[in-house]
């Protein structure tokens, strides 16, 4: 009987722990949603600090979109090349070169392109934002802003939110063009598919709905990455140790939410 009580007690403890963890995750998710709402509206509500806003915004765009864009160009060339390397040889055998464009549109423009650019921004800027804001929090700079009567979420969060969104949209365009050029270079070199035929195939396959889905995904991914990074930066309070754990947690949350959003949007496209 005693053993039974112990087993039931242990099970109850485990269930309690699991429930507690679930509750903590839900609380985090709600916190992220609240932050999203605050950052989305923050640019339109409050004192008219347009100059300050653009200074921070341009700083963020430079950091995210310009400083290491060449890396994205290089990886996107590889992406285009990889897509074509698997497809071209089979398509040439089947006399189906005109499907190369359709393949590029589906994979690069609609599916992989937004995710590819989002991963780049997550690695390049997401962690950096969490560390920067976390450091400011630990060093009492956030408190100094509050004492100046400045809303730190608005001053620090909003320009980063819109900066990341603008940057990711630009990087997505860059990624798509680079992937197309990478794809063409391989198709031309190994399968003797010429530019005119390749370009025509791509343009014919490209529809507004593909572009719309690509841009919608990109904008949402950017907002998610920015919100999560800013949120985990601000919840850092007292210790430098928190910054490391919050940065890794922000990365994981961003990945999960970007993945979930991608699945939802893709499913919505096919429905």
């Amino acid at each position: 009987m005693n053993r039974l009580f112990r087993v039931v007690g242990a099970l109850g403890g485990l269930l309690g722990q699991a429930w507690g963890r679930f509750g903590a995750r839900v609380a985090r998710l709600l916190g992220i949603c609240a932050m999203f709402h605050r950052l989305l509206l923050g640019a339109f509500i409050g004192p008219p600090c347009v100059g300050l806003f653009f200074r921070e915004l341009s700083r963020q765009v430079y950091f995210t979109a310009m400083r290491r864009a060449y890396i994205l160009v290089f990886t996107s060339l590889m992406l285009g090349l990889l897509v074509i390397v698997h497809a071209t040889q089979q398509l040439v055998k089947l006399q189906g070169e005109e499907f190369i464009g359709w393949l590029l549109v589906t994979i690069v423009v609609r599916e992989v392109g937004p995710v590819w650019a989002a991963f780049f921004v997550l690695l390049n800027s997401g962690g950096a934002i969490t560390v920067e804001i976390g450091n400011m929090s630990v060093n009492q700079e956030i408190r100094a802003l509050k004492m100046m009567g400045i809303d730190p979420y608005r001053y620090l969060g909003v320009p980063r939110f819109w900066g990341i969104t603008i940057s990711l949209l630009c990087l997505y365009i860059l990624c798509v063009f680079s992937a197309i050029i990478g794809g063409y270079l391989f198709a031309q070199a190994f399968a003797e598919v010429f530019w005119a035929k390749f370009w025509l195939s791509f343009v014919n396959a490209l529809q507004w709905i593909d572009l719309s889905v690509g841009f919608a995904k990109t904008a949402l991914f950017a907002m998610i990455i920015a919100t999560v990074s800013v949120y985990f930066g601000f919840i850092t309070r007292f210790h430098v140790d928190e910054i490391a754990s919050n940065t890794s947690e922000a990365g994981i949350w961003s990945l999960v939410l970007v993945g979930a959003t991608d699945i939802i949007l893709t499913a919505a496209y096919y429905l």
């Binding site: 600090c49 100059g51 300050l52 408190r143 100094a144 509050k146 009567g149 400045i150």
Partner: protein
């Protein structure tokens, strides 16, 4: 109660400190209260509560008759715009120059440029000897210049309540003399009340209306010696 710029009503501070609990202290408009025997570590808990950055365990904190615990976030931010809070834990933003740090508040609220924000305060910057350092980043300047930049940042708000700990280089004779002049002008210009704390505040006696000594967990009232010798005519409209 509306006659006070700051009213700490039976306040218990959040951490166990050297302050009497519960603490009651009120600052009338244009009044300067000095508390000696309170170094930076001792002063910070009181000033954080007074500056609305921390909540007291018990009691009420009122600014101009408004209970800050009941204020919404936006109103609290606007309230803090009227308070200058200078304490060693106060820092400058590391990614802005001293000039940008000082002008940040006016730029945020008025949407003006840095030069437009600093132009009306050229005298203040000159008095604090900061004009040569406005393009420097906080990490590039000495601790004394950094402390003066924090003072400048808080005073350009045009504060109606000044909460400050006098410490470091500004507690020395030369630093205090500079600060007394700056404070005198700010108090006169904005009609501000001030609560100044420090180990020794003798250079600030000419500004003070009331003087307390923090000793063994008690605030003891002291007479400001300078006031005894001050001629009565200074207080009467005889001219």
């Amino acid at each position: 109660m509306l006659n006070y710029a700051l009213n700490l009503d039976l306040v218990t501070l959040p951490i166990d400190t050297a302050w009497p609990a519960p603490l009651s202290l009120a600052l009338a408009f244009n009044e300067v209260v000095l508390i000696e025997g309170a170094g930076p570590a001792v002063s910070s808990p009181l000033l954080e509560v007074a500056a609305t950055l921390a909540s007291p365990v018990a009691g009420n904190v009122r600014h101009w008759g408004r209970n800050v615990a009941l204020e919404r976030r936006e109103k609290l931010y606007r309230l803090r715009r009227r308070i200058a809070y200078i304490s060693p834990p106060q820092v400058l933003l590391h990614f802005l120059t001293l000039g940008e740090n000082i002008a940040l508040g006016p730029c945020y609220y008025q949407g003006c440029s840095e030069s437009e924000a600093l132009a009306p305060h050229a005298d203040l910057l000159a008095q604090l000897k900061l004009q040569a350092h406005l393009t420097h980043y906080p990490t590039q300047v000495s601790a004394a210049i950094y402390a003066r930049a924090v003072w400048a940042r808080e005073l350009v708000k045009g504060p109606e309540l000044i909460l400050a700990v006098i410490s470091g280089d500004l507690a020395t004779t030369a630093g205090a003399a500079m600060l007394v002049n700056v404070l005198r002008e700010s108090l006169a210009r904005y009609g501000a009340a001030a609560l100044l704390l420090g180990e020794s505040l003798e250079p600030f006696y000419p500004l003070g209306h009331r003087l307390f000594l923090l000793e063994s967990g008690q605030l003891r009232k002291r007479t400001i010696l300078e006031h005894r010798a001050r001629p009565l005519t200074a207080y009467l409209p005889l001219a």
